[in-house]
Symmetry: D2
Subunit: 259 residues, 4 copies
C-alpha cells in the first residue's frame, strides 16, 4: 500500500520561549500531532519548522508531501513571500492543507481565501463545545454529537472567510459566542480544512477526539485527482471543431500577446 | 435619490498602440462602457486608467467608488502591489467589483480568488453563444435564452477559479469548448462578478445585450451592508456571559500576543 | 412606485386555543408580523390563514403574492398536498418565501429542501443570542453584532438542511447549543430564507430587531428575474447550429416519447 | 475487504419494447452497467427493475445497498410514492445515489432537489463533448480534458436544478447548447451525482470512459459517515449547561406539542 505522506509544519516558537506552553508540548505542537497521526499505519508522517532550511517549506519537501498541517501564531510575518507562493502552488496542484487554530491569520490561508480571515477572540480558559453539524461528513467519522473542551480560547464570529463549501463543525463558547471552526474549501485541485481548536496553552492536541478529527481531515484533504495543465493556447488549426480564423488578432501563433 | 458611484478602470494600452483596436474603441474600452452605463440616471459614472496618478487606483478614488469595473490584459504585471492591496481592502469592505474578460488574469482577481484563474484560449473570431443558465438571477434580467456574438475570442475550461457561488452564464464556442463566463462570488462584504466576453479586437462592449448585463451586474454587486469590524479582542470582563478567566495566558489585556 | 405584495400566512391555531399564546398574539402571529411590515410604505401586506378558503393558499392569492411568510406548527399535516404543490410551483416561478420558526417542519419547506429538516429542541425560556455572521448581507442591514432574546426556544444542530447557499445568522443558546437559524437558498427562480426565532409563547415578533430582519428578508427574497420556460423540445431543424438528424429516435416530432 | 454493495436500477421498458434499443442493450441498460462495474473486485453489484417485487425498490433491497444507480424514462409516473419515500429516506441516511440521463425527471430526483429538474432537449444523434471542468475531482480521475460522444441526445440549459455543490462536467453540443451534465449534491448524509449522457438509442454505456466515470462516481457517493439521529427533544434537566425552565410551555415533558 502506498503511504500518504504527511508533513506537520509548526513555527515552533512559543514551545521554546514560554514555560507554560513547553509543559504542554515539550517537543513542540508538531511533535504531538505527528505522534498521534503516526499511529495510523497508512500515514508516513514527518515534521518541519520555521527554523529549518527554507523555513521548512522548501520545494523538495513540499513535492514529497501529500498533506500538510500548518500551525503558526507569533511569526506569520516572518514566513517569506516565496515560501507562501510555493505552498499556494502545491495546494492548487493538489496537496491537501489543514490550517490549525491561529493559522487562520497565516499568509498562506489569507492568500488562498482572498479575505481578511479576521475573527473575535478571548483567552479565558473557558468551555468550548464543538458541535458536529454534519454527521455524514468523512471528517466527522467517529465523532459523536459534539466534542467538549473544558478550556479553550474563544474564537468568535464574524469570521472573515468566504462561505465554506462544506460546514462540519460549529463551536459554542461559554462566554456567549459561536464560531464556524470546522470548514472546508477547494482551491484548484487541492482541498483545505480549517480547524479552530488548538490554543497552545491548553492540551487540546492531546485530546483523542481532536486527534481523530485531524486524522479524518488528513484523509479527506488527501490529493484527489490531477492538476489542470493551464493556461493552454489552442491554435485555430487544432480546434476540436473545424473553424477558420476571422478578423484581426492580438496574439501570435504561439498565443503570446503582441503589444 | 443617492446615485451609485461607478468607476470604469482600464489599463488603456491596446487602444493607443494598435490600429485595429483603436478603430473599435477610439476613446478606449473604458469610455465605451462608461457611456453605456452613463445612460442610466441612477448611476454616476467616471473612468480611470493605469496612466493616471496612483495608477488610477488611489485611495480617495476608491473610497468614492461603490462599484468598480476592471479591464486589463497587457499590463497586469505593471499594477503595483500597493494598488492591488488597496483594491482588495475596498472590496472586502463592501465595494462591488466586476472583472472583465482578460482581467481574469489580473493580480486583483487572482488575489481575491486564491487560485490560478488560468484558462484555455484561442483567437479566431469564432461564434460564442452565452447561455443564460439562471433566468431568475438579477444579472440576467432582460436577457433572453442566450446572447450570440458572431466574433469572439474563445475562453475554455478548465477555468482555474473556486466553484462560483452562483452561475449566471455558461458560454458555447463554435470551435468546441464551453466556459463558465458569468460567475458570482462574495468576499468579505463585497460582491464580485466575472464576465468573460470583451476581447478588444471585436466590438463586444458596443452590443446592447452585453451593456445590459454590465448594468445589471453593477446593480447586483453594489454595496449591500456594512463591513465587519475585526479583528476584535474581547476582554474577559466584557464577555456577554459572565465567566472568569482560568489558566495561563499568551495575550496581554489588550489582546496583544506576548512573545 | 409598484408595491411589493406580501402575504403573511399562519396556521392560526395556538393563538385561538392557548391562553398564554393569545396574550402574546391576541390577533394572531400573522397580524403582528403584518402590522410590523405594513409600516413600510413600499409593501402591500395582507394575511392568510389555514382556516380560509383553499387553506389560505389558493391560486389567485398566490398569483398576487410576491413574497410569502409562512408560520406553522401544530397543523403541518393538515395542509393539503395540492396547496403544497401550488406553493412550490409559485416559489420555483419566482415568489419569495420566508419560512419561520417551526415552519422548518412544514411540508413546503421539506419539499423545497429535499431533506428531513429535523433538529434538536428544548422549551425552557432560555437566552438566545443570534450572531450576525455576515454583516455585508442585505438581510443583516441595520443589525449589529447580534440580537439577544432573553427567552427563546432552543433549536439545535444538527439541522437537517442542505448546506445553505449563504449563512446570515448562527444562534448561541444558554443551554449549550448552536443553530444555523438564518439561512438562504435559491430554488428555481425563487429565493428562500429560513429564520428560526419565533416560538409562539414568547413575544419575539414584537422585537424591533426581529421585525427589521423580517423586512430585510422580504426585500431580499422578492422576485428577481423571470422563470425559465421549460421543458422545451428543440426540433432538429430549429437547432441554433445547422445539424442533420442521425440514427434512430425515441421521440416524435413534437418531442413526445414514443413507447 | 468489505465490498461496496451496488444496485443498478432500471425501469427496463424500452429495451423490451423497441428493437433499436434492444440491439444496443439486449439484456437491458442495467445489465450493461452492472457488467462494467462488476469488473471492479471491490464492488458487489446487483440489478433491480421496475417489474420486480416492490418495483425493485423494497426496503430490504435498499437496506443492503450502499450505492444505487437509477435509470428511468418512460415510466416515471408508475413508480409509487412509497418507493420514492423509501429511496429518499435511504439517501438521507447515507446511501449514495447516481441519477442517470432521463432520470433527471424521476420522482426521486425531483424530490431530493426540490425543483422542476426540467431541461431543453433534442434527439438528433449529434456530437457531445463532455468537458472535464474539475480535473482535481475524484469523479474525473483517469478522464482527460473531455469525453467525446459521436452521437448523443442534446440536453440543454437552463437545467432546473439547485446550484450544484460541485461541478465536474459541462457538456458542449454540436447544435449549439451547453449543459451542466456532471453535478454533485449532498442531502442529509447521502451524496448524489447526476450524470447526463446515456440516451438509450446510442451505445453510450458501452463507452469505457463513461464506464470509468460511473465507477468513479460509485466510489465518490459511497456512504461517508453516520446519519443524524433527529428530531431529538432535550429535556431541560438534560441541557449541557445548567439552566432552569422559565415561562409557559407548549410541549409536554417528552417534547410532544400540546394542542
Amino acid at each position: 500500500m502506498k503511504l500518504l505522506r504527511v508533513t506537520v509544519w509548526n513555527e515552533f516558537i512559543h514551545e521554546r520561549q514560554n514555560d507554560d506552553v513547553r509543559k504542554v508540548y515539550p517537543n513542540g505542537i508538531h511533535q504531538t500531532i505527528a505522534d498521534a497521526l503516526g499511529r495510523h499505519p497508512e500515514l508516513a508522517v514527518k515534521t518541519a519548522t520555521l527554523q529549518e532550511t527554507d523555513q521548512g517549506l522548501g520545494q523538495s519537501g513540499l513535492d514529497s508531501t501529500d498533506v500538510l498541517l500548518y500551525w503558526g501564531h507569533a511569526a506569520h510575518d516572518e514566513v517569506s513571500e516565496e515560501a507562501v507562493l510555493r505552498l499556494q502552488k502545491r495546494v492548487l496542484d493538489g496537496m491537501g492543507l489543514i490550517v490549525l487554530h491561529s493559522g487562520h491569520y497565516s499568509k498562506i490561508f489569507k492568500r488562498l481565501m482572498g479575505t481578511t480571515c479576521a475573527l473575535r477572540y478571548r483567552e479565558a480558559g473557558e468551555r468550548e463545545r464543538i458541535w458536529n453539524v454534519n454527521p455524514g461528513h468523512p471528517i466527522a467519522e467517529g465523532i459523536g454529537e459534539y466534542i467538549e473542551l473544558e478550556q479553550s480560547e474563544m474564537y468568535g464570529e464574524p469570521f472573515g472567510i468566504p462561505h465554506p463549501e462544506e460546514q462540519v463543525f460549529i463551536s459554542w463558547f461559554q462566554g456567549g459566542e459561536v464560531f464556524r471552526g470546522g470548514s472546508c474549501w477547494t482551491r484548484g485541485s487541492g482541498r483545505i480544512f480549517y480547524f479552530s481548536p488548538g490554543h497552545e496553552i491548553y492540551p487540546i492536541y492531546h485530546n483523542p477526539q481532536i486527534q481523530r478529527v485531524l486524522f479524518n481531515a488528513v484523509c479527506w484533504v488527501r490529493p484527489q485527482g490531477r492538476r489542470a495543465e493551464v493556461p493552454l493556447h489552442v491554435p485555430v488549426e487544432n480546434a476540436l471543431e473545424k473553424i477558420s480564423a476571422q478578423g484581426a488578432v492580438m496574439h501570435d501563433r504561439e498565443g503570446r500577446l503582441t503589444r
